[in-house]
């Protein structure tokens, strides 16, 4: 029986097809993606069957952490700076141009206005620490004789800066209701009666 000659194959694998596929995927990801915005606090949002999308622009995002700290953020850098200018007026504070520039880069924050100057002077990594994420005061009851509701001022001025703004509330599943209630009451006080609760998509139960 003659020996079957096995053709010696080259070890070289043609990678061209693989490159094609991988670049196709890469293109897909680059085009479809929106970068995750860094937020001041992590929250796990509840689910709902609502399938309406969050608008892309003109958003005032209110984040409520599980322990009830409140953070706010706007989406446009220029309006953010304008926003800070109004707050500075309202609380008779002064900010340096550098602080304005820094504020424009912050997606969401939660510090009382008194601490805002120092907060903006910090290096960006230091801002994430727990001590610097105090939350914006949202007291709707008297505390030591003074109602310190800075959140109300932030929301009111946000509407002034950008009349087309959509308010979204992103709260943690476990946030106690009283905390949400004071946020909602404050929004009612400034005549913001329509807002969106951010939820993750759940499927509609079968047969309904």
């Amino acid at each position: 029986m003659p020996k079957v000659k096995i053709a010696r194959k080259s070890l070289f694998v043609d990678m061209t097809a693989m490159v094609d596929v991988s670049f196709l995927l890469l293109t897909f990801f680059i085009l479809t993606s929106t970068f995750i915005q860094k937020e001041a606090v992590m929250v796990s949002i509840p689910g709902s069957i609502s399938d309406r999308k969050v608008p892309d622009t003109n958003i005032l995002n209110i984040i409520v952490s599980p322990d009830g700290r409140v953070f706010v953020g706007m989406d446009n850098q220029n309006t953010r700076r304008e926003w800070l200018a109004r707050i500075a007026d309202s609380y008779s504070l002064e900010f340096t141009p550098k602080q304005y520039a820094e504020f424009g880069l912050i997606n969401s924050f939660g510090v009382p206005v008194e601490a805002l100057g120092a907060f903006l002077n910090m290096p960006s990594q230091a801002r994430d620490s727990k001590e610097n994420a105090l939350g914006i005061p949202v007291a709707d009851t008297l505390e030591g004789g003074v109602i310190d509701n800075q959140f109300k001022e932030w929301v009111r001025l946000a509407r002034e800066v950008n009349p087309d703004i959509t308010i979204t509330i992103k709260a943690d599943r476990g946030t106690p209701y009283p905390k949400i209630k004071s946020v909602m009451n404050t929004l009612q006080d400034v005549r913001e009666n329509r807002y969106h609760l951010i939820t993750s998509l759940e499927s509609i139960p079968a047969g309904l």
Partner: protein, 215 residues
Amino acid sequence: MAEMNDQPKRGKGGKKGKKQAPRVDLTPMVDLAFLLITFFMLATSMTRPQTMELAMPAKDDKVTEEERTKVKASQAMTIILEEEDKVFYYFGTQEEGGPEPELQQTTYDPEGLRRVLLSRNATVMNKILELKEKKRNKELTEDDYKKLATEAKEDPAAPTVIIKPSDRCSYLNLVDVLDEMAICNVSKYTIVRLDHLDTTMMQKHLPAIYGTPSN
């Protein structure tokens, strides 16, 4: 490094050097591409989160909360959200000098609150399901469906749900109930505070919080 540089020279230098295949080793390129893919996959969020729209009544209206919640007793259903995922509900309200409505406890399961709401909202639900069926069979366009569904929800027999979250419930509870409203196509609902009747009735169920009944 020197050796690496030498190699191609040797190939070129040899008189009868083998013809180099016009192949380029693409492995590093694949490596790079996959690295980038991995980066983009991790750094991006593909789906935008959904939202649930909520319209609250204006606070400055002359109508008080009591007036606003004054709905036809026969159509009203009150849901009280309590600690540890407890839900209570009752139908109607207490008439002047009349008996207290019957307070019942349920859960957030599909078999709990949803069943109650569905049976309460059966007329609207049947209409909506009919419309959905028609839409599936291409008898209705998307726009027509939306219009008819809104009309169906305006049905005079539709219940009005009054949601009363207590201070001990969580945000998840509230969203769950609002979601049940969407699932069961209840179009009329409000969120209000607990009133005197609620607290007296709750005493029987949660005396630890509301205090024991006085009588």
